[in-house]
Symmetry: D2
Subunit: 297 residues, 4 copies
């Protein structure tokens, strides 16, 4: 069992700390909210008056905080963790913060001689209570191997995302995708209803197509991801069908801002000469515009 | 075996007509492109000089044409199908046309005493060749029952989409969703690359979450579709995470127009007082703005 | 005074026709709405039973119709204008229709040996009544010279937009700009109010800057339009300021979809290496992406 | 002449400080860049080793810094301005920072017993050199009266924007508008070129219409700003004309993301029952969606 400093006892942090206690770890906790500390103290945690005090004897320091500025304050501020932390300890930031702030924290911690990794979590506070979170671990193989037992007290699954920083990067991309997809799905669903098409029928059909299953594992692997831009479904035709849908939406007064933005991307791809390429070539198009190295043309 | 008039022998129509011939049906074909007709004639089809001639003896008339104006011309124009068509025949429009044009055609055909249904297809011309298209059938139960054998010569699967017009509506919604989703997926993928996060790692993670699996069958059924807007994941938090992602994208100069449009929808939902509701409540938000009946608040 | 056929007596067409009568021209009118014809007949117009009859003796044919398909029908349909029109007459389409449809009509009319120009109008039906419309004339110098007296019966100003088709093109671009600008202005105004900033104060300031005066005649002429992309105001700084505004809007839940879309364009321009160029270089950026010839880099 | 502490000697700050020296004020300067301080010292400024030292004797403290976090550090950090500042002094923040950060700084300064106002500047570094900036003054009448002589050493015009915080708010709204308008203008201009319409002709026309002159002082004052939503130009017609333009843009592959976003706002306004209202009612529509008090319906 390990000596762990746990800093940040909010809606997610509190049940995560409870799980570590329940699994037999020795915990010292800190939060600006005293009541949150008291609750954990009743479960057996020691209370610290400052982050530096919490970190004093720790093998692991876990931070679960609202944003990157607060993580930085906790680590490097007055009475911060680094004032007392042993160089042999491992700091694991499990917060959802800005990836570029995380990168800077990693750099500064490394420069100061400390070991730092990121491990944000997926799912909800209900899963935190039951210890069934998904852990997105970013760190060296050694860091992850060392942290694994501790992390799996809080989660039922740990995904190795690559080097330090990749955990939080994966989380941000994943949430970008799912949150925007939710808005796009609402557009499609309301378009159904406005056309008097039963949503369950549309969902039934889309569940069997790329509309419901997504492109990452269906239309992309054999085409753009394999370097093949020959058309299974041409960008020109995608543009045409999207135009029909936008026209219908306009006539029925269904606002479809994401669909409208998408058409402009297809228009641009056509202007760049990609009309006869496979629709998955949209990835190549966007990559090229961003100045990323072109592996497939 | 049936007497079928097949009008429109393009990239999709020609192989579909071939399949019908191969299955033993008696075909009369028409296309403005004479070469396309000759090719089918060699396979056993009769050639017509006008749509009206093609339709003369037909039990079924199948149209596979570029747009709604052409379908209308073929049916109601000079030398059009309706000049000769028997009232007992069934017209099946398999084209991808504007759903509101399709609706109008259905109305006009019905007024004129003819039987009309829509059955656009999913998948590609390769599947047309092998007769493995997905048929999206819109029509009455009787129409679909009558057409089923004919349609399944061209496709390996037929989905009953409900009444006439629903086939084309399902197709348009499905394509709206998949085509816009492709653009959104490209944004997420390029964001990965700009952050130096391996795309395969991100895809691996997203394949297990709603980012890859979509909302229709995961996050929506137990919440908004069941009338429950209590938060599993709050709109406020979705807004916050999306802000982080957009901030990263801005710093790395990755254009994310769909993601940016999505944030504005979440901002609007928050302005309307939905910040503490489940993110699936975005559907209710968009429905409400469109003046659709509110079943769940 | 001239013999004029006037076809299309709607909200705009009816008062325009009245003006021509009041100025002493000899009018034959046609509309599918008989009541509209009766009204003009009381003012002295002859009624035609078909477009072809109206055009029979005309030196000028003026069309003021809802869309391009109807203009085409009126000109080339059964009992259409071209059945009887003299080759020496001039057809003036004053409708607001799709520019590419207008282009096709011009081509077809010219092929058939007729003289055709476009002259859509600016302003409202109130101005039609008082004959103070703005006329956007597209045609050859000779056509415009010939039509000028007739057109200026209906409008107080005539702008020569260049060759045939340019009238309708100018109108569409002008309306695109003003209609979208209205939506952008609403975003800025609501952002003011959400920040508790009096709108009249903001309008006072913006009226003196490019925000209110526009770019076409202020920031562009000396820079991008003169081939100078050196920065008076860098794209990087515009990106930064826009980020601040979007951040404020997000915190205050003001949806700013146009502002959000704009940021993505600036991000893209930066990704293409234009961050240190003048903000007017956004024009060069968009031109380049469209594959237009690059005159300034 | 006044004793002024000037903190922040960047591209804008350095020439502004020079102007104050040239006008005879007594300046103590501070910047983390020693070379920048040396340059001002040669012009007669005293150098400070810390913000607190610079502020020690000052009647005015002027800050011209990159962002709000740095302004806060300079005022409240270790060796910050507030360690030594006299309660009778006036702090003038001329930086372009986040309005909500500015608001918080104002609150904290006032709580600490200090006098604080904001006065960001318009125009460019060339104008800073010649002392012809536009000053956007936010503060009480007394603060502005006291600061006016000092501020007008740096600018040729001072606009009273209302109470403290309004200067920076006006600047952010103004820049939001002008920066997004630049992107919209590029869309219109490229649409011209793609249609082979000379840009100078289009600019000539638009300069005389609301497209070039903006809505704030033309189409809005007599309508929405006066509480009159009766239609001079209906939202339905604006929607129709915008659809034509977007259709043209799509056919010509001109990406128009702002125009596309605008159409969705008009669709939404129509869905909310505003189709027959004046297009300026879009302002009312957006205000209502944001939950702002409705003064006009």
């Amino acid at each position: 069992m390990s000596a762990i400093a746990f800093i940040g006892l909010g809606q997610m942090g509190a049940p995560m700390a409870s799980r570590l206690l329940a699994k037999g770890h020795s915990l010292t906790v800190y939060d600006i909210n005293r009541a949150a500390m008291e609750k954990l103290a009743k479960e057996g945690a020691k209370k610290a008056s400052q982050p530096s005090q919490a970190a004093n004897e720790a093998e692991f320091v876990i931070t679960m905080l609202p944003d990157g500025a607060i993580v930085r304050e906790v680590l490097f501020g007055v009475h911060g963790v680094t004032e007392t932390l042993k160089k042999s300890a491992l700091v694991i930031d499990m917060s959802t913060i800005h990836p570029l702030e995380s990168e800077k924290l990693h750099y500064d911690m490394t420069q100061a001689g400390f070991s730092y990794m990121d491990a944000p979590v997926g799912k909800t506070s209900d899963h935190a209570v039951t210890g069934t979170l998904t852990i997105l671990a970013g760190g060296t193989d050694q860091q992850i191997a060392r942290a694994e037992d501790v992390l799996l007290c809080m989660g039922s699954e740990m995904i190795r995302c690559g080097g330090t920083g990749n955990g939080i990067k994966v989380k941000i991309v994943n949430n970008f995708m799912s949150i925007a997809l939710n808005a796009l799905s609402a557009e499609a669903a309301v378009l159904c209803e406005a056309m008097a098409l039963p949503l369950d029928k549309a969902i039934q059909v889309m569940s069997g197509t790329v509309a419901g299953k997504g492109h990452f594992t269906t239309s992309w692997p054999g085409k753009v991801l394999a370097g093949d831009l020959s058309a299974a479904f041409m960008i020109d035709l995608a543009h045409k069908d999207l135009n029909i849908a936008l026209n219908v939406a306009g006539q029925l007064n269904v606002p479809v801002p994401l669909g409208a933005a998408a058409r402009e991307v297809y228009s641009q791809a056509r202007a760049c000469g990609r009309g006869k390429q496979d629709w998955s070539a949209l990835l190549t198009h966007v990559r090229t515009l961003c100045g990323l190295r072109q592996t497939v043309e």
